[in-house]
């Protein structure tokens, strides 16, 4: 299960792309170039990266309102994503979707989802397709601690067990759903224990550690691909920023906020990989430079891009009406 150098570089590139993308989103949002609101994934990079690392374009994920990281980890291009988030022509969804509705079917990215608990039932269906077609591929539903209490999520767990579909429920537990702590909102002892009681194996890993998430997913994939039905993986994460960009987070104490920042998945990966001399710090830095340049260029290009043609307002409602 040791990753080779290319794999490590790929993981680093993905995590950094998410980091750079979200930092840029934060900045663009402050500049007013991103309409609406933005929920960024800062602090959770290792979770999405680790979960998607061994997935192919033929495996599918359903995502959440906090979906940028999932998109990037699943292979969506940052150029199209920035265009989309800024509501521009050429965006991944033609500017019609926005931050909470990025999807890229060719990459197996079935959509961010602005309805909390919206994705798990859909992912059950994707997994059903995989099962019926005997592809060996899987579907993953990302949900948060908050979303874990939504009826749709809970019944999707039972449905997945009953239909024995190759699906992984990933619970990214960042401790908060909006302003309310998971300590309060989740009555169960833990998300993974509750999931296990639905009749599937469940594990909980340090979501700030790419290697832990990746190892957890390996086990999950093994179980799921063997036709044993679904699996649940909780990744315990830190949410660096507030619920949305601009949330002052007074409901979190300053100590807690400071502590969250210390569990930085990007720094932890860098330290671990360089200390173990798996990759040289120069290699890591070179990738960082390249990634940041690409992200910045994508953002700048998106800023300058045109809005969608007004004629598109009424297209794409139906394949044919």
């Amino acid at each position: 299960m040791q990753l080779n150098r290319d794999e490590l570089k790929r993981a680093w590139r993905t995590m950094l792309t998410i980091r750079a993308f979200e930092e840029r989103v934060e900045k663009e949002f402050a500049d007013g170039t991103i309409p609406g609101f933005a929920h960024v994934y800062l602090g959770q990079e290792a979770s999405g990266t680790g979960v998607c690392f061994d997935l192919t374009d033929d495996d599918q994920i359903g995502s959440t309102h906090r979906g940028h990281g999932h998109c990037i980890a699943k292979g969506c291009e940052v150029e199209g994503m920035f265009l989309e988030i800024m509501g521009k022509a050429g965006g991944i969804c033609g500017g019609k979707g926005g931050s909470m509705h990025i999807a890229d079917m060719d990459k197996g990215m079935l959509g961010a989802n602005a309805i909390v608990g919206g994705s798990p039932p859909i992912a059950v269906g994707a997994a059903l397709t995989q099962k019926l077609r005997r592809t060996g591929h899987v579907a993953v539903a990302f949900t948060g601690d908050g979303a874990s209490n939504q009826g749709t999520t809970l019944e999707a767990m039972n449905m997945a067990v009953v239909l024995k579909v190759p699906m992984i429920f990933v619970f990214e537990n960042n401790g908060y759903g909006e302003f309310t702590s998971a300590e309060y909102s989740v009555g169960a002892k833990s998300l993974s224990e509750r999931a296990a009681a639905f009749g599937m194996p469940a594990a909980s890993v340090d979501g700030g550690d790419f290697f832990a998430v990746h190892a957890g997913m390996r086990e999950a994939l093994e179980h799921v691909r063997d036709g044993n039905g679904p699996y649940a993986l909780e990744t315990r994460c830190s949410r660096f920023l507030g619920h949305f960009v601009g949330d002052p987070q007074k409901y979190r104490g300053s100590e807690e906020l400071a502590a969250a920042r210390t569990n930085d998945p990007v720094l932890r990966f860098r330290d671990r990989v360089s200390e173990a001399a798996l990759l040289a710090i120069e290699e890591l830095n070179a990738i960082e430079t390249e990634v940041r340049a690409r992200v910045d260029a994508a953002a700048a290009a998106a800023r300058a891009a045109a809005l969608p043609d007004l004629a598109t307002l009424e297209t794409d409602v139906y394949v044919k009406y």
Partner: protein, 333 residues
């Protein structure tokens, strides 16, 4: 031509399309007929027997019994559709839409638009509606207005065995999400239905009676009543056109407007409470686009603004009757 029931016509469309296309699967509560039981699984085929015989024929991979979890049923069907299957999900009674509506209008219906045209969601939701079974307030609604208003959905209301088969065949072959609203009071109605598969296109009204004195527009289970009313009126020398748009979305506006050009008088029969109803929708079409043709107030024959009552006499008074339709037409003359 064989004479079969509305129920059987639906069953036949399902069977033929499943045989034709391996991507077509059924899922829902008891559509197979009792998974996990110690007896003869597949002996039932849905609570109304509509899917009977399909489980024995196609097996548990294609006829999937589910837990009672409608959000997961519809959501999974949507997810399967968007990844390449062509699921027909059963929402047993349309009244249950409240526990899974999000997966219909916010998810399946919006995928394509939100994703800039990238998604294709060939999903059919079969469900049944309507009063008359003495089933009470939570099992007797129609609710087609809240479906018709959803951009991205198509809504079908078959009123005869022939239409049921042709429209369902079309729905299964359609690439957009379709809600197929069966009228439970029609399941035992029989009519001529060709053995072989055929499609009835969406958005094309059926003209059941042709007359120049007035136009009646009716949907689903109200169509036979509208026809009965027209026949009664004909005996009194009043000749009315009866239009069944067959799909409420898309709606054959042209057929309605053309008929109004001829008759100038409109009655809409809608088995639903009056507010924001399909009756109101058609009336609005008329007064916004056929105003000059209109010669009289539009007659709206709907249910009252109340839940569906249980007591048989109250329920009978609740649903638009032939007598009320006749009266409404006369009022326009």
């Amino acid at each position: 031509m064989p004479v079969i029931s509305y129920r059987k016509a639906i069953n036949q469309a399902l069977e033929q399309e499943m045989a034709r296309d391996a991507r077509v699967i059924l899922m829902g509560i008891d559509v197979g007929g009792g998974a996990g039981g110690s007896g003869d699984v597949g002996s039932v085929g849905g609570v109304m027997g509509v899917t009977k015989g399909l489980y024995p024929k196609f097996g548990s991979d294609r006829v999937i019994d589910t837990p009672i979890s409608e959000s997961a049923i519809i959501g999974a069907a949507a997810g399967a559709a968007v990844t390449g299957m062509r699921p027909v999900a059963e929402l047993m009674f349309v009244d249950f839409i409240g526990v899974c509506f999000d997966q219909i209008y916010n998810q399946a219906a919006k995928f394509r638009y939100m994703f800039g045209g990238k998604a294709r969601t060939p999903l059919v939701i079969r469900t049944m509606g309507g009063a008359g079974m003495r089933a009470g307030a939570q099992h007797s609604q129609t609710l087609h207005p809240i479906l018709t208003m959803v951009p991205g959905l198509k809504v079908v209301m078959p009123s005869s065995p022939y239409d049921a088969k042709g429209l369902l065949t079309r729905a299964i072959r359609d690439d957009d999400p379709v809600v197929f609203l069966e009228s439970k009071s029609l399941y035992d109605v029989k009519g001529e239905v060709p053995e072989e598969a055929y499609e009835i296109p969406f958005g094309e009204a059926n003209v059941l009676r042709d007359g120049r004195d007035a136009t009646i527009v009716a949907f689903g289970a109200m169509v036979p009543r509208a026809v009965a009313a027209a026949d009664l009126l004909a005996k009194e020398g009043v000749k009315v056109t009866v239009l069944d748009p067959r799909t409420t979305s898309p709606l054959d506006e042209e057929a309605i407007l053309d008929s109004l050009d001829e008759t100038g008088r409109l009655v809409v029969v809608d088995e639903s409470p009056p507010r924001c109803s399909l009756a109101a929708d058609i009336a609005a079409l008329a007064v916004s686009q056929a105003f000059d043709a209109l010669k009289a107030p539009v007659g709206l024959v709907t249910c009252p603004h109340t839940p569906v009552p249980f007591a048989p006499n109250l329920e009978d008074a609740y649903v638009p009757s032939v007598a009320r339709i006749v009266e409404a037409v006369k009022k326009t003359l």
